[in-house]
Subunit: 356 residues, 3 copies
Amino acid sequence: MKARSYRLEDLAHLVQGESFGRSDFFLTGLASLERANPNQISFVNGDKYLEAAQNSQAGALIIPVELKDQLTQHQNLIVVHNPYLAFAQLTHVFEKKVETVGIESTAQIHPSAIISESAYIGHYVVIGENCIVGDHTVILANSTLSDFVEVGKDCFIDSNVTLSGETKIKDRVRIHANTVLGGEGFGFAPYQGKWHRIAQLGSVQIGNDVRIGSNCSVDRGALDDTILEDGVIIDNLVQIAHNVHIGANTAIAAKTGIAGSTTIGKNCIIGGACGIAGHLSIPDNVTLTGMSMVTKSIFEAGTYSSGTGLFENSQWKRTIVRFRQLADVPLTQILKRLDHMQTQIESLESTFKLRK
Amino acid sequence: MKARSYRLEDLAHLVQGESFGRSDFFLTGLASLERANPNQISFVNGDKYLEAAQNSQAGALIIPVELKDQLTQHQNLIVVHNPYLAFAQLTHVFEKKVETVGIESTAQIHPSAIISESAYIGHYVVIGENCIVGDHTVILANSTLSDFVEVGKDCFIDSNVTLSGETKIKDRVRIHANTVLGGEGFGFAPYQGKWHRIAQLGSVQIGNDVRIGSNCSVDRGALDDTILEDGVIIDNLVQIAHNVHIGANTAIAAKTGIAGSTTIGKNCIIGGACGIAGHLSIPDNVTLTGMSMVTKSIFEAGTYSSGTGLFENSQWKRTIVRFRQLADVPLTQILKRLDHMQTQIESLESTFKLRK
Amino acid sequence: MKARSYRLEDLAHLVQGESFGRSDFFLTGLASLERANPNQISFVNGDKYLEAAQNSQAGALIIPVELKDQLTQHQNLIVVHNPYLAFAQLTHVFEKKVETVGIESTAQIHPSAIISESAYIGHYVVIGENCIVGDHTVILANSTLSDFVEVGKDCFIDSNVTLSGETKIKDRVRIHANTVLGGEGFGFAPYQGKWHRIAQLGSVQIGNDVRIGSNCSVDRGALDDTILEDGVIIDNLVQIAHNVHIGANTAIAAKTGIAGSTTIGKNCIIGGACGIAGHLSIPDNVTLTGMSMVTKSIFEAGTYSSGTGLFENSQWKRTIVRFRQLADVPLTQILKRLDHMQTQIESLESTFKLRK
């Protein structure tokens, strides 16, 4: 796999920027300011990176217009409004993509499944009855699609993924390695001291442009479906229980868990390792900071948090001793008693003075 | 796969209920009140669903006896004591099950392994030396059983599961996709600044009717075994460390972790994302609410909790500032000082009055 | 697979201890004091296990020198300085290892890949372009290595593992089942209400003697690499985000998550289920107790903690009511007011006495 190279001017064109310096300068890669070599391009995301930019060996820099006159050490520049966005766009230029097309001879495809001729199906992939795989979709080795799973166009399914529960996936969706969609929801009816399994009959619906990280679990619904709307992005090791509904463009960081039947709005940002209880509702535009604990519905957009923060251990222990006393300390009553006593003292003082 | 249909009377019989209306009415599926169509049956789990039930398009309803006279919009009814249990039972009627039997030609089975003729072994399943797979057990594609693993009767092992460490699984057990049983426990002896690995020689014992979700890890014991007793149910992304022992019918929600050598009693309910430290003991009938942090053994049945709950972010920040002061604020002493000062003031006041 | 047996004297020699009793006594296994039979050896890790040792059926015991005269019930002994370390060493003697060599006929190896003749490649393993697998390395069934992945000597890669992102692994590394190294980092540029994916171009570097548990995710870097230095040990279900750097010999317990670009020093011990935010720095020799929440860099070695601990549920509810009042209770001011009022009262009292 040879590294491709691109002209500075062409890269500028791709990110809708203006190039300065040698427009025919060739670039073979994208790198951080610290690690870039003279054949690579880097980006400067604001003036706090100015010194690193000056010292960088990068052959060219993507910069915001306001830094143009300050970067005296560099001649080859691409000036853009949003260097971070331009960087995001250029990563796609330098990414190594799976470009093979067709079905590996070792893949097991049920005769009733419909696989696009432009799709790639890797070794040992197993695809069940009535599955559909769309154009230009890539499914890597050792993944398994059980019956009635549908995957749209331009999707990327990494290795060792399990798609089951008749999951339906739209276009441009990325599912990373060892993730499970459509697993059975955790539903049991307690009766006479035992748990009676509720077979899960719902499915999973994944919208367009959804991204799910590695080792995630998204369970199928009990009767209705678990739904991730368009543009939802999810990090690794995230649990989405049965019948959860996540609104468009909501982002969920790693290790978060969302319990059954909870509805989350659009454009939310859920930090890492949050725990959201079941049957709750969270509106649009909510941000939860990392490790938030949500046990009640939220009714207003805004930022919410939980937890104690970090303490040096002996200080933490002393703090927790006091925290354990809180239940028996009437905090607001203390303030009232202080005010009352203050009044009594002042009354005594003034009476006293009058008598002098 | 055609949808099967069932007569109302037959479904009533299955759930030990009484049918009303057209006993020969045919039903093709089970659905929620909101989504059911006139060929489907739904259930009403108490009077808080009465309005939804009245408005439902469902062709028949499973109801508790006390709602019978109130559901004037519906004629086809099954009256039962416990509609949720009846619903659980009917899900099994409408579930699509793997009904294939035999070993796919691509499965790799060691000659010493004993596979029941009524079992199903999917594509690319690898089964090692001396393994045993019981009657009617299903093992789906791309799962791996290393040497000396035993799986009982009527079990369901989903895709991409890894069973190793000589794990022994009894009957009617369900292991969901991408879960690992019998992985090596996290055991290291620290010596001269390095970690010296302790090879794990124990195994995993899984009782009857155990259910383990997707992406779980249950490690083999160091010398003795990790044990899950009969009827234990576990959600997704749960960590069970080496030598943990979990009592019968205990339920564990997603994202919980239990550290090594901890013993948990029977009939416990462990909420999501709990963390339970190692070498502890938890008795029968303990409930932990979600995100509980257990660092000491528990000695009495009951419900236990941790965490701060959720705050609007700026309020949380102010609260944490105060929380950080707690270590230096002698809460109980404040109350004593207040009482003491109150006595002093009253004494001053009464003396003062006497002198008037 | 027959159990091998070893002479007491030979085992003593292996752990650099001194044997007492019948030096030619044969031992067939290692077991806990409670479960050992007369053909097995057990170990006594300090005097708190003295009674269990006296009652043990073990045929031989590994003991520290100070217990030698107290174990009157046992004659076959190995005396060592550190019985736990000796136990760790002996586990390797009794461990069943994969001793097969070669490539299973079903493995798919790209012609450009270089696989050592002494390596073992299991069934349905898929190895991509330009991969390298070193001497005596074992890769178990259904694992997948995408292009340009390199694995060193004497490594163990369990089943259903996904190695991608051009991950480079050094020697004596153990990666447990269903873990993903080199998955795409969670990088998106927000622009006009949507998330624009940043293709991840960095890789993962794994040092010598690293151990990673099952169901872990270690993402490839955005531009630079994610790095785990020599001797790092990681438990199950751990998330390591892109561009994290973990120093040598740091141990990380199960269910911990470390967000992007955070640097952790050497010899740290990170408890279970910790959450460490992104772009932070943690120095060498830091211990975090379980469930710690780290949102700021740490500047000094030491032990740190978070969380409220566990409460009986009704007590917890009352505590949280007070905790919610804290923001409006000026704790340090209360103490000042108390001191001030005390002074006022004492002044009143003394003036009052003077006047008497």
